[in-house]
Amino acid sequence: MNDMLFSFINSDPVTANSDGPLKNLLISLHPNISVAKWPTDAGSAALENYRPIEDATVVKRLKDQGAQLQGLTRMGELGFGVASDTAHLLISQKKSDAALVVDTMGEARYLSALAGAWGFKPSYGICSRSGLIGLVPSMECISMICASARQMADIFSVIHGQDANDFSMLWDGLPEFDAPEEKTGQVRQAGIISEQLAELDSQEKKAFENALAGLTQKGIKIKECAFPSYPLFRNVHQIKGSTEASSAAGRYDSVRYGRRAKDTANWNDMYLESRKEMFGSLVKSYLFQGAYFQFKNYNAFEHAARLRSLLVKQCRAIFKDVDIILSPARRRTCDALKAVTVSDVYDAFTLTLPASVTGSPAVCMPGRVMAGDMDLGLQVMGPHLSDKMLLNFAIEMSQENTRN
């Protein structure tokens, strides 16, 4: 197997329970999801040679249900940006059936559009993040890229659910999600956001309108909704995300793991020098933005947190009128794989940020928003905890794909 695509290949992927519901399913993982004894370095020298001492909760569940864990993909440093990512290639080259990736600003949805495959980011707080080496605790979700919608639903039914080791999870009222259902017609009314449409260029708009036409044929009504606060999503995500990252990255101190700078005079020097060496320039820029909010302008962080409340509330109001909100998953001209600066990264993910900020679930469907040969992905976002409806809808739509 081409190890340019893998940062680590598991020589013996067959798990003990080879008769489980996920038997024979080949799954690769972002190297920031802990697997005991695997080199899970999250693409960063901050975790150089780091080998977790126990499995992430989702990994335990996958193993228990017979999935074959192939190994670790490559990824952008600490999950910020997708510049070095290989998860989508493993799917498009049919080397893996599914890849578990971490979605903080839309990575799973973006990469699945690139792969021409299915992508799914669940509601925040229903899938354990225990064992995830994260960067933005309040937004990141363990998500997936998958060759088939049904397998995506099967995997999710295994990995979701309460975990006493994750204190950030929903504790009461966690929805049941056992198995996908053959239930059609749950989605009747779809919304599109005027302010989002206004940002698209003519080719993107045309591709998106074609996709909408396909849905209309299926009897789904499309409603254009105004969302005047929509432009705030980016600011709120960036201020909250960078601040949380700056705070979360405090753990990379070169003491318990990670690269240690040589010959430092004292404790402060050890931190300064080790952390100078261990972070790449992109992630470091993001951490400095966060440090600015954390230490110099906490008011801005708090204000962003207030605006997040506002955005969540307004989004909820839109979902009173519609079952889902549709948009393309990625822009045509902003290439996340080539992003160098923090701005480049955010430019590439503008369309996926709302679901991350509001903790909403979102599916990305392949083959529907086509700008020429380029699959922009159809992003279907549902209200918080509507994961079951979204996955059923994905299966329904995938069956139509095969019929066509």
Partner: protein, 704 residues
């Protein structure tokens, strides 16, 4: 509130069996058996078991079933003897229990950040201790931490320690006088905490580092015997066991000499330690400074064990061993210790690779010579360089027997050699377990040098410039004469820790002026610094002297706590920060403006706070260094962050801040107990570390 009828939980005993009593307190722990429910009820007198039974009242049992840890409740009930076999020896009331007939919840408690209960409900069960909880979390919820019986006991004992001292002082006619906290900088040598004055814009008070000047002024006033439990403040660098503010028992008396104070302080210290059941043997021995340095390398000698220094310089006058020869040529000294019978624990490898190569250089020494006594002969990597006569001299001088290990330090500087060997002495004693437990060795250290030499060839006060010298006929211009002066200062040391110190003060204006001259202060400079103080000494001051004892450290020693923070109700953490109140904190622009602190120095940047580049500040506070080639990129990113902040400020909202889309949940989940991670138990947690030493992560020096 029916407080007259209340019984203390810890005061209920066998004699009360059959009595109806009323208890108030907190639910320490509970065991629910369905038809019967047990709780431990705790107040500050102790813990008693209360039983709620369906047979008494179904409603009451239902209410009891909703009780959770730390609910504040009131019960009425009857004391009954426990059935044989159900006694609980872990609480003092374990032979009885109280059958509740009425229960009322005074106030409920939300879920706890950590468990408070320290007493098992059934014999042999494991309970949490403060050591298992992160200290900053304890400090953040200090009011809960102080509900622990062990912490309450610490504060109660601290109170008794101070009370015992007050009693002795009052019996002897001392009076307590309060001195100001807002004062002027005093000459203690550490940095002051300063307090801006609003009515005198741009001017500052200083918080006292000690009441030194005021207590001496009280002596001038004729208040002959003074004491105070005084709060003192020092803005010093961080140390694990140092607090920015601390409490000292400050004492001063007139018309007395050292013998008065020694007797008084020994009585006070003995009574303080008696609170912890510790008996100190009196009178405390005295040791002069020179002897302390020559035999232990420290002016805080730990006399609980031997390992006294042996001077050996004279044995090597004619040696051919090059290293010693060179050191002696530079007027150096050679001193050592004989670690009796430890050649098995101190192998060649340990001596050479750990002590000589790592530990001694870590103390600032250039090297260490070691020898082991084997079969009546010295054995070492360098023993061949010594003549048979020298070897014999060494054996005799150090009184060597088989199994002994000699550790020898040679250095051109006597001060350095003694300091290094002193630290080595403590290290070896600790490592080999040579320090006996429950042994208390107090000692007075006396005859300190009055001055220390400075690097520029002058002198500086060893204590403070008001300490009396042992003679007054010195020449203030003659440095070697000054360095030969001894002071009338004394420190009280216990087990190598300084409990306090003091001195007989200068009461003569001319002598004081000579001291200032020796320190290089002109009369004008002295007047500017201490004018008010010196002027007072023009008016017939009495001879006087005094001492101060460090209460926090004494309480920590008496109670054998791991940290002095355990004997202080609301301490700062190791970083001089208070996790409870979040002090120190920023203050508003308006507050600074009112104090006229914003435009100190006119249009210039504030004095002492040169406007630091934002990038440098962020790099420092987040401890991330910047590579040269990425500086521009990071600068651009931070500018963008500033822009983002400006953009969102324009969008007003009064929504509550949302930190997560999932409402925050209680940290302590039902049915979950704090357990040590298996990685801690089997050492796996250490496997990813860059550097490890034993069971610890190894890091760079915390203090240079």
């Amino acid at each position: 509130m029916n407080w007259q009828e209340r019984t203390g939980c810890g005061n209920v005993g066998k004699d009360d069996v059959g009595r109806e009593i009323q208890l108030q307190g907190w639910v320490d722990a509970r065991r629910d058996h369905g038809e019967v429910l047990f709780i431990h009820l705790r107040d500050w007198t102790g813990i008693v078991q209360v039983v709620f039974q369906e047979t008494e009242s179904k409603d009451m049992l239902e209410t009891a079933q909703n009780l959770r840890e730390e609910y504040c409740i009131e019960i009425t009930g009857r004391v009954v003897a426990r059935a044989p076999g159900t006694e609980n020896s872990s609480i003092t009331t374990g032979t009885i229990e109280v059958t509740a007939s009425a229960l009322s919840v005074l106030n409920a408690s939300v879920g706890l950040p950590f468990h408070i209960s320290e007493k098992a409900m059934v014999a042999g069960a494991v309970v949490g201790t403060p050591a298992n909880v992160a200290e900053d979390l304890r400090l953040q919820y200090r009011y809960l931490d102080l509900r622990r019986p062990s912490m309450q006991d610490n504060l109660i004992k601290r109170h008794q320690i101070i009370k015992s001292a007050r009693k002795i002082l009052e019996d002897r006619g001392f009076i307590e006088v309060e001195t100001p906290c807002l004062t002027k900088s005093t000459p203690e040598g550490a940095r002051d905490y300063i307090v801006p004055s609003r009515v005198h814009p741009g001017e500052f008070y200083a918080l006292p580092q000690s009441p030194q000047l005021f207590k001496q002024l009280l002596m001038v006033s004729g208040l002959e015997r003074y004491y105070q439990v005084a709060r003192c403040f020092r803005d010093e660098d961080l140390r694990p066991n140092r607090q920015p503010e601390f409490t000292q028992l400050d004492i001063e008396a007139s018309f007395i000499d050292e013998s008065f104070l020694f007797e008084l302080i020994e009585e006070i210290v003995s009574q303080m330690f008696a609170v912890g059941g510790i008996d100190l043997l009196r009178p405390f021995p005295k040791m002069c400074y020179q002897e302390a340095i020559a035999t232990t390398g420290s002016d805080r000698p730990d006399l609980r064990f031997g390992l006294r220094f042996v001077a050996a310089t004279d044995l090597f006058t004619n040696t051919s061993y090059a290293i010693f020869k060179q050191i002696l040529k530079r007027n150096g000294c050679i001193i050592g210790i004989n670690v009796k019978g430890q050649s098995e624990a101190l192998s060649k490898n340990v001596l050479q690779n750990e002590y000589a190569k790592q530990i001694v250089p870590g103390f600032g020494g250039k090297g260490m010579t070691w020898m082991r006594m084997v079969d009546g002969k010295l054995d070492s990597n360098i023993v061949q360089f010594f003549s048979p006569a020298e070897q014999q001299d060494i054996i005799e001088r150090f009184e060597c027997e088989d199994g002994d290990v000699l550790m020898i330090i040679a250095d051109p500087s006597y001060a350095l050699a003694t300091k290094v060997l002193g630290q080595l002495r403590l290290h070896v004693a600790d490592r080999l377990g040579l320090i006996p437990k429950n042994t208390w060795s107090p000692v007075w250290v006396t005859d300190f040098p009055l001055f220390d030499p400075t690097e520029t060839g002058g002198v500086t006060s060893t204590h403070h410039p008001f300490t009396a010298p042992d003679r007054t006929d010195f020449d203030p211009q003659n440095v070697s004469d000054l360095l030969s002066l001894k002071s009338r200062a004394y420190d009280i040391v216990l087990n190598g820790e300084e409990l306090g110190g003091g001195s007989i003060r200068i009461d003569n204006r001319e002598v004081q002026q000579k001291i200032f001259t020796a320190l290089g202060l002109t009369p004008e400079e002295a007047a500017q610094k201490f004018g008010f103080f010196l002027q007072a000494f023009e008016f017939g001051p009495p001879p006087h002297g005094g001492l101060a004892l460090g209460i926090d450290r004494i309480a920590a020693m008496v109670l054998s706590t791991r940290s002095i923070r355990d004997v202080i109700a609301f301490p700062k953490n190791r970083s001089a920060f208070c996790p409870l109140t979040h002090a120190p904190s920023l203050v508003s622009h308006e507050q600074l403006a009112e104090l006229e602190l914003l435009n100190l120095g006119g249009g210039e940047a504030m004095p002492g706070k040169a406007e630091k580049n934002l990038l440098e500040t962020l790099s420092w506070v987040s401890r991330i260094g910047i590579r040269e080639e990425e500086a521009l990129m990071i600068k651009t990113a931070v500018e963008q962050a500033e822009k983002l902040a400006t953009q969102i400020q324009a969008r007003a909202t009064d929504e509550e801040p949302m930190f997560s889309v999932i409402p925050l949940q209680n940290r302590t989940r039902p049915g979950r107990e704090a357990v040590a991670h298996f990685g801690v138990e089997n050492g796996d947690l250490l496997t990813n570390a860059a550097e490890v030493k034993g069971d610890f992560f190894k890091v760079a020096n915390i203090i240079e």
